[in-house]
């Protein structure tokens, strides 16, 4: 079986594989606010760009000295990072280079929307990004309409090709499914179009309702079928599901994401970004407030301490994260790192979940089955 660990182990680098240290930069700007999106974002205002760059650099200079080691991956997400010009990122990276060790970078990802131009993609590649994630959502006008997206998408099948032309070594797309009005046929069309544009990475996100407005979720039973169908089509198309929502061609797993799931350290920069750091045996998590103006005014003072976990509690969280990976959890490695056997964390639930067909376990490995992935919250709840 294909395994994450065997693919990414590049020769010559010491810690090519998570857990390691990553940076996340949040760009909270969006031209139009899509009603299905839960992320913090606001429409861009004149003057924000310059102030934002300054603020990010300020925050970075405060965090830099606390970095636990060299940065292995950088991910710029949003929002719509592609709303900022490549010059922004060139200046940002040159600043970051002074504050963090960036020499061992394995992956630098940027999220872009489907309306991006060819020139912009070339610009981003020039700025130093080697990986791009294109927010396609759907290739079909009708589906986008159901999602409440107003702009057209005629160009979106072309974007992946441009990205490759621009020199990105990994091109990813993401698709949404499980929204009201979507038919299985629509999903399959999206999957087929998705395969046809030849990306390296595909994220499949089931819609999650926002409380007040926006598109509604489909009947969960149908969404479950769609999940299975996606897995079937993408696997047949040469992709491997390495995490509940993520599929990659061999060699193209997102290391940044892998680092989250493998409970690595990361600093988030920008409003609403999250950070995690293990220091002296305790695991700290903090987040910046969802408030751009507050951030612009004082970027080092919008932090909210979320939790300081003593070593007792963090294994549960770590196990929940790790079980999202298709390769599952290696009991021995886990026990070595957290001092607890994951079987013990699951207790009697392990046998119950195995009987119900949610988990598979061998002498060393525990992993979710496809059914287990679909019911992962039921499993995770017991671990807490």
């Amino acid at each position: 079986m294909w395994r994450a660990t065997s693919v990414e182990a590049g020769a010559g680098s010491l810690r090519a594989l998570p857990p390691f240290f990553s940076l996340y930069i949040h760009v909270p700007l969006c031209r139009s606010l899509c009603p299905y999106c839960h992320f913090y974002r606001i429409p861009p205002r004149p003057g924000d760009e310059e102030r934002y760059l300054k603020a990010l650099c300020l925050e970075a200079s405060a965090l830099g000295p606390k970095a636990p080691g060299p940065v292995r991956t950088i991910y710029v997400g949003g929002g719509t990072p592609s709303l900022l010009p490549s010059s922004f990122y060139i200046r940002l990276f040159s600043n970051l280079r002074d504050l963090f060790v960036l020499e061992d970078l394995k992956e630098t990802t940027v999220e872009v929307d489907a309306r991006i131009t060819k020139d912009e993609l070339f610009g981003l590649a020039d700025a130093g990004f080697d990986r791009v994630s294109i927010g396609i959502k759907s290739f079909q006008k009708d589906s986008l309409k159901k999602l409440g997206v107003r702009h057209d998408n005629e160009k979106s099948p072309a974007v992946a090709g441009w990205a490759r032309d621009a020199g990105f070594s990994s091109v990813g797309i993401d698709l949404l499914y499980g929204f009201e009005g979507q038919k299985m046929r629509d999903l399959i069309t999206d999957l087929e179009t998705g395969l046809a544009v030849k990306p390296d990475h595909i994220s499949m996100y089931a819609l999650q309702e926002c409380e007040e407005q926006g598109p509604r979720e489909l009947d969960p039973d149908i969404t479950a079928q769609m999940f299975r169908e996606s897995r079937r089509v993408l696997t047949a198309g040469g992709f491997c599901q390495y995490e509940i929502c993520n599929f990659a061609r061999p060699g193209h797993i997102s290391l940044q994401n892998l680092n989250y799931w493998m409970d690595g350290d990361y600093f988030g920069l920008g409003p609403s970004s999250h950070s995690a750091l293990t220091l002296g045996g305790s695991r700290r998590r903090w987040a910046n407030k969802n408030d751009l103006d507050a951030y612009l005014n004082n970027p080092v003072n919008v932090r909210e301490e979320l939790s300081v976990e003593d070593s007792k509690e963090s294994p549960a969280e770590a196990l929940i994260l790790a079980l999202r990976l298709a390769s599952g959890v290696d009991s021995e490695a886990f026990a070595l790192r957290y001092g607890t056997d994951p079987r013990k964390l699951l207790g009697s639930s392990l046998a119950e979940f195995r009987d119900l067909g949610l988990l598979r376990s061998s002498s060393r490995k525990i992993r979710l089955t496809t059914r287990g992935m679909l019911l992962s919250n039921e499993v995770f709840e017991r671990i807490l």
């Binding site: 969960p220 969404t223 509940i244 929502c245 992935m373 919250n377 807490l384």
Partner: protein
Amino acid sequence: MGKNRIRNFSIIAHIDHGKSTLADRILELTGAVSKRDMTTQILDSMDIERERGITIKAQTARLSYQASDGETYQLNLIDTPGHVDFSYEVSRSLSACEGAILVVDASQGVEAQTIANAYLAVEQDLVIIPVINKIDLPGADPDRVRNELKSVLGFDPEEVIEVSAKEGTGVPQLLDAIVRRIPTPSGDPDAPVRGFIIDSWYDNYVGVVSLVRIFDGTLENRSRLRLMGHGGEYDLSELGIFSPVATPVSCLFAGEVGYLVTGIKDIQVMKVGETVTIASRPAKEPLPGFRTARPMVFAGLYPAASEDFSRLRDALEKLKLNDSSLVFDPETSEALGFGFRCGFLGMLHMEVVQERLERHFELDLVTTAPTVVYRALARDDQWVDVDNPAMMPGAGDVVEVEEPYVRSTIMLPDLYLGGVLGLLTERRGVQRSMNYLEDRRVILEYDLPLAEVIYDFYDKLKTLSRGYASLDYEPLGYRSGDLVKLELLVNGEPVDALSVIVPKEKAYYRGRDLASKMKELIPRQMFEVVIQAAIGNRVIARESVKALRKNVLAKCYGGDVTRKRKLLEKQKEGKKRMKSVGRIQIPQDAFMAILEVEK
């Protein structure tokens, strides 16, 4: 004050006809409460009474009243509750009085409890003063009500007094009538003391306080009391009257009503109906006793969190200090764990107890469906009381099952007769009588199984009659019935707390409805849940809750682990609020849902 200046009376009426408001006016007119301190229904002092605008506990007040003859009289007023659950409060209040004010709403007229309460007063040989209240209402029709009082209860139209308790009109005339018509208490002030305990409650500072009516002799403070029923002897530590605030006195004379305190901690010792006398000079015979209020409705009360069991026990014990009609015994349920089987006077009483437990004791409760007490004759010729359907012996082990019946009185405009008769038939009622009054009103007397009455009967009756029908009922004893135990099984396991006893002819429909209601309420689980309704080994209905197929969080928001965790914790919290039967999670409200099943 000589006892010829004492007047003891209760105010009785159908629910909401204005008893407590009339008491307010009387308190005000006699100066017991100044206008400034006056609130509405001042005697309804419990929070739940005030919120719901109803009287639950009878309250007394001693007033001093200067009548038109220039003399000052001592009036002992008892305001009684109108709701049928608390009718025993009316009976025991009446037993301390020589007279009763029967209040009738001028727009509603005579209603079922008007009649029932009037009869209670007649049984005790009391003088009744009929009063038409709310004459200020635009819809008031005192002439019609006068006629009804005459035709239904035989009152002479001349003796009826018209008042507006709200505005105070007619209340002075009423007070005069009280003085003139209600007889002075009989009883010999020099005979050995005989005092009748009307009510007892627990006070945090002094212990049990008892309301007492002195029938014979003179009770002096500091005497040594003997309880003629219980047998114990206790020293009186305080004697007093309510005017309406507690005011100590040195003695209570024959004919007077007051309170006494002995330092007893347990109200079961000072039972309602007890006769107290003086140990040094005891009376020969106790006063005729009083039947203690028997609970009619039983339900299981369980703490939502099992660790709250002992808190629930403490809370019930505290409530019982003040509510002798509440009974409870520990019980266990496979589905609900450790809890109590509690007996109540009726559904309102049950609601009040539940509300107090939840509010005053901050308990989160799961309640099973209320049931009546069945009697089953087992093969070994022994009768057993069954206050929990799960405990009903299996069909093979029972020779006969009996259920409690009530005699109900229903008054309604004949316009709605068709629908109401239909309801009564559906509820297995047996007609005793049907009489037409003037104004196209009808009085029905029906014998009904109590089980058919306790839950939604009154609401249905009100709906079918657009609010015009009124209901009263009293226990009638047990009758044999063709009854079966209907069990609910989830994945083959019977859920004890969901058993019900139903008439055989309705079992099939009830079973089907119950199963489909459960299907609605039981959330999808990680496996299919099969719900069956069965009588003995025979399955009469089957439903299934499909296995849950998807419960997954899509995105890991840029490393936002905390949010994910919170969502999972919320989910977990939600499950904690459910009860598990084997591996199946059943939400708490499912245990009450049996009731919502259309009968």
